[in-house]
Symmetry: C2
Subunit: 388 residues, 2 copies
Amino acid sequence: MAEPNFLRPMTAPDAEKGKAAQFGPDSALALDAGRSLAPWSIAYMTYGTLNAAHSNAVLVCHALTGDQFVASAHPVTGKPGWWEMMVGPGKPIDTDRFFVICANVIGGCMGSTGPAETNPATGQPYGLSFPLVTIRDMVRAQAMLLDRLGIERLLCVTGGSMGGMQVLQWASSYPDRVVSAMPIACAARHSAQNIAFHEVGRQAIMADPDWKGGAYQLAGVQPSKGLAVARMAAHITYLSEAALQRKFGRNLQNRNGVSFAFAPDFQVESYLHHQGMTFVDRFDANSYLYITRAMDYFDLAADHGGSLAEAFRTTTTRFCLISFTSDWLFPTAENKRIAHALNAAAATVSFVEIETDRGHDAFLLDEPQMFGTVRGFLNSVASREGIA
Amino acid sequence: MAEPNFLRPMTAPDAEKGKAAQFGPDSALALDAGRSLAPWSIAYMTYGTLNAAHSNAVLVCHALTGDQFVASAHPVTGKPGWWEMMVGPGKPIDTDRFFVICANVIGGCMGSTGPAETNPATGQPYGLSFPLVTIRDMVRAQAMLLDRLGIERLLCVTGGSMGGMQVLQWASSYPDRVVSAMPIACAARHSAQNIAFHEVGRQAIMADPDWKGGAYQLAGVQPSKGLAVARMAAHITYLSEAALQRKFGRNLQNRNGVSFAFAPDFQVESYLHHQGMTFVDRFDANSYLYITRAMDYFDLAADHGGSLAEAFRTTTTRFCLISFTSDWLFPTAENKRIAHALNAAAATVSFVEIETDRGHDAFLLDEPQMFGTVRGFLNSVASREGIA
């Protein structure tokens, strides 16, 4: 696909962050908070080729700490894309056949406008002056990006965790633009327990004196310790008790016996430390606050008079829901609620619960049953749409 | 019971902390870390009257953040004892009939020797120079207290969570001194997930600049923010997802709509903040480090060549295990492991799993089936022992 000429390539050092679509004062992004954002930009990556009919586009939505690098190396860490097992040539989301788009969410820190970006009105980083965003705002921004790309309808929208929330929001906000939707390991509302875990993470960040009320960039510091603690707490929720026991159990880290000290004796402690330390190198602390808050606020039924079915009342989208047995962050029960609501809306829906002990993170891992489900569903939808 | 005269009443402002037994250089406490503690003291409370045969003593062991005030008001908070529904005149652990002892654990901060106490060798608070303690050390200290009190055998040892770990350790270390044992909502080893949550809490404390490498007392500060975050994270694990949903759901705190800000919008957030704030007023941050570490290190099977049954090989103790269906911190599966090991050791054991949605904290709450089980078991044991 030739790049539309209104998309400027990002300049160095942003070049690695991929493409970004710029929106000026005439294209303000209206936010649920009652404010609007202008100018603003949305960074994204594409894989594969858009066909002549513009009918083979698949939008992938990323999770809390994900980004647009779904199928190519991360420019900061150099690690493979976060869903390379899922997206690529010959993969379940086959880029030989489909045009895949993945955009960094609004409020994020990989090139889309967020709290770490410069506020053009002040010339300083937004910090906490950045407006709170919602899942619906993220989706609204993506819709404006798709308008720019000349894509009216999406063959499929998919994503896991917060990505799944965006999938549900897409299907609800833009029923005519979504041929099929595949939300994975998600929920139609954030639970009390999940809000609680998010608040612990936020408090850990805000308790760090280097957070400086959100203005740490101006001070040339970052609340690394607080952000690492937030990541460590969250990471536990991404795994299952069984997986932690299987992977680490009570194994000691390079020791024959416990140290009788507070250094990490156990492998599981070293693992968590590693998760915390590597995270702070690639993620902005304020973005973490904003995006967790967006998830907390997500409650699709509440936006429709308390009826989740009402959120999908006129839908013609075909749905495929996927959950994992050991996911205690977004348990199968939450996915069943979505399935029931879709049934009540007379939608076309299939639901697959995958047996695994890997917890929530299973959606990012090598789960053959998930790959088979995604491949089969997409093939079926593509055939119905007459895509070669 | 007349107080033995070698027990000095604690002087003001410690008077409210109850009684304390002092041990001098000739009565050092040998620790698993290979060090010993002398002088040292153990603070405790008693309820009821020791009978002439000294055969009606029940030892209650407290949990991570508990203390000796099991059935009387806490001197700092003024709140009722933490198990007043369980212990008292006419209660399941009936102080009209039994002599109940509860001691603050070694490493604690309610009068027993711990990191916040003054090191007599230096005249300064121990801080991190305090040796690491284990569950076995806690129990060894309690055994020395019982020696002082002239109690050779315990009619029963009971407690929940870390208290239950002490119960198991008591039965294993001192099989001849324990007539019956009632561990509640516990495990014979700390799981990888539980170690991980503890490490998050410790990192939150150590990340607080007011922790000052553990020497905050000298600086006249305390790492309140870090300790509050640690408590908040831990508190989530004490409840169940269902209980949080039932109690709080997505209810807003004194608001009609979300604030689009980072103040606590949701009731569950306000609740967690309250838990964090009240905790720092009554608990020492270093004690929190030491006691969580003691729990992490607990692995009764590992101390017996990997065989939990071996830990109870010669036991004549009668066991009653209690777990709760929604406890994900110390799930029923862990309690079944204990039951299997006791069966393999040909011990007398009954096991009760109580249906509740309240999670781990159920052991502290109004759970009629738990009360009935405790009352029935204690009555039966007391009858066998010929106690009126």
